[in-house]
Symmetry: C2
């Protein structure tokens, strides 16, 4: 059945999303309809689509409310092909801004709001640049080699898992970063079982200034291609560079991506070290679209 939806388009450092509110969980779109919304030429166009739904009104929400009864709202995230995704580090900041702007929720001054996602509850707070989200625990994985299209050498990389798998490669200069050909997926050796996003990182000069680490990166997302920004990739890049930099490296990083600047912090919690991501969230325009359906 065709469905007419009020939508809002937003982005976080150029990683962009179509959002719509469905508090009662009554709007059922199939994968094809989600993909039609995300199509950049035939639809609204975005990296992903976010349905804003009360946790109580989505099947995945029961486990969320068990984990944290305060997680009233759930981020039902879809990739551009319509498939479900667990989390999106840039998307959840835009989600928070949408909640606040539309009056559905408010983040108390100095406090946090709990948001349900398919990878569990995430705590979000306001930050100087927009919003900060606690991405939870992370994990060091295997080393490997990465060769980009047309590249003459395979470069060493380290695996970092931030809920999803990443391979991070350090480069010596901005020029080297600029000249990388990311029009094809980099070849990974060994091949990770579920693939990986690949981050290429260059330290700023000096890398550490006023106690803050500074790096620039480009990213190739599995199944997507090069993107302007990848939230978990930014966290993985900072974690990898801190690992290589040794025990005196800072726990606060600024990461420049093609779409803007993001902040990463590592901090101790009762269940181990967490990593957080902070940065801007923008709502760009609102509109109405009728999504065709074949029922």
């Amino acid at each position: 059945m065709p469905t007419t939806l009020p939508i809002v388009k937003g982005h976080g450092t150029g990683n962009d999303f179509v959002l719509f509110a469905d508090p009662e969980g009554r709007i059922e779109l199939d994968d094809e309809q989600y993909a039609a919304l995300a199509d950049r030429h035939f639809g609204v166009g975005a990296d992903g689509v976010i349905r804003v739904v009360r946790s109580a009104n989505i099947p995945e929400g029961a486990a969320i409310l068990d984990e944290d009864p305060a997680a009233e709202w759930f981020m039902d995230y879809r990739n551009a092909d319509g498939s479900r995704a667990e989390m999106c580090g840039n998307g959840i900041r835009v989600f928070a801004k949408y909640l606040e702007r539309s009056g559905l929720a408010e983040i108390p001054a100095g406090g946090t709001i709990a948001v349900g996602t398919r990878s569990g509850v995430r705590d979000i707070q306001r930050s100087a640049t927009g919003y900060q989200v606690d991405l939870g625990r992370w994990k060091l994985e295997d080393e490997g080699l990465v060769r980009t299209r047309g590249g003459e050498v395979a470069r060493p990389s380290i695996g970092i898992n931030v809920g999803n798998p990443h391979r991070v490669v350090a480069l010596a200069s901005r020029n080297e970063l600029h000249e990388l050909d990311l029009t094809e997926a980099p070849h990974l050796d060994p091949v990770p079982p579920e693939g990986a996003n690949v981050e290429f990182v260059v330290p700023a000069d000096p890398m550490i200034k006023d106690g803050v680490g500074r790096i620039t990166m480009r990213v190739h997302e599995r199944g997507v291609g090069e993107t302007l920004s990848c939230g978990t990739g930014v966290a993985a890049a900072a974690l990898a560079i801190r690992y290589w930099a040794g025990p005196d490296a800072p726990n606060h990083w600024q990461v420049k991506v093609p779409g803007g600047m993001l902040g990463v912090r590592m901090f101790a919690t009762q269940d181990g070290e967490h990593v957080s991501l902070s940065g801007p969230a923008e709502l760009v325009f609102s509109g109405t679209i009728t999504v065709a359906g074949d029922e």
Copy 2:
């Protein structure tokens, strides 16, 4: 000054546009604001932006009204970088649909509507698949060679000018077409003074069915990259294949592009042979955006 605009997003075979009405010619956006609207991640996203303005209310319109006093409406077309463009074969069909849908104009049954563009007046009529536009006269230009990225051979091409310059290359098989690497601009020899769009074309089997020529093409647009569709490129491709096919070739062609199907007709007029383009025009969604400005 920030400007709040009601916009409509539309496309013709995937070639997509942001449209807004400014009948009185009062909305002045600078190139940067047009580019911001067209940005796919930070704005609405489109191949181009179309301002719908009365010819009497735009400086370029005086010459238009001299040429044809019936050309009440002018298609003020901007490229995605904000620069002015003369004409767009897919855009003008979407322009016509916008005029009709918004009640600004009506195309009489069996008749045409005259629309002003920076390359003169264009006549549009309804067609079985949407709208048909007379692109005017065309011109055969020089032969040359075209080599695509990673290509082992330079292929022969012919130059066709349909208001803008094209180079058309014939390929032997769909497989060859499919495997072309168009992630970089093809290398042209000789280099045309203003560059050229390059069309790669394969005939269907049989090429001519029921008196209609049938071809499939991919296109690389200068300054843009590979696109889903290029209206003038479709016309150029059909003209080139007809030229190669010899005197018995038909004057009606169907051209399949990645974004859909378009029709091309060649027909005699008092001022020489004209070529027309026909195909669908879709309006996808409407909305409101506030465009930032620095005045």
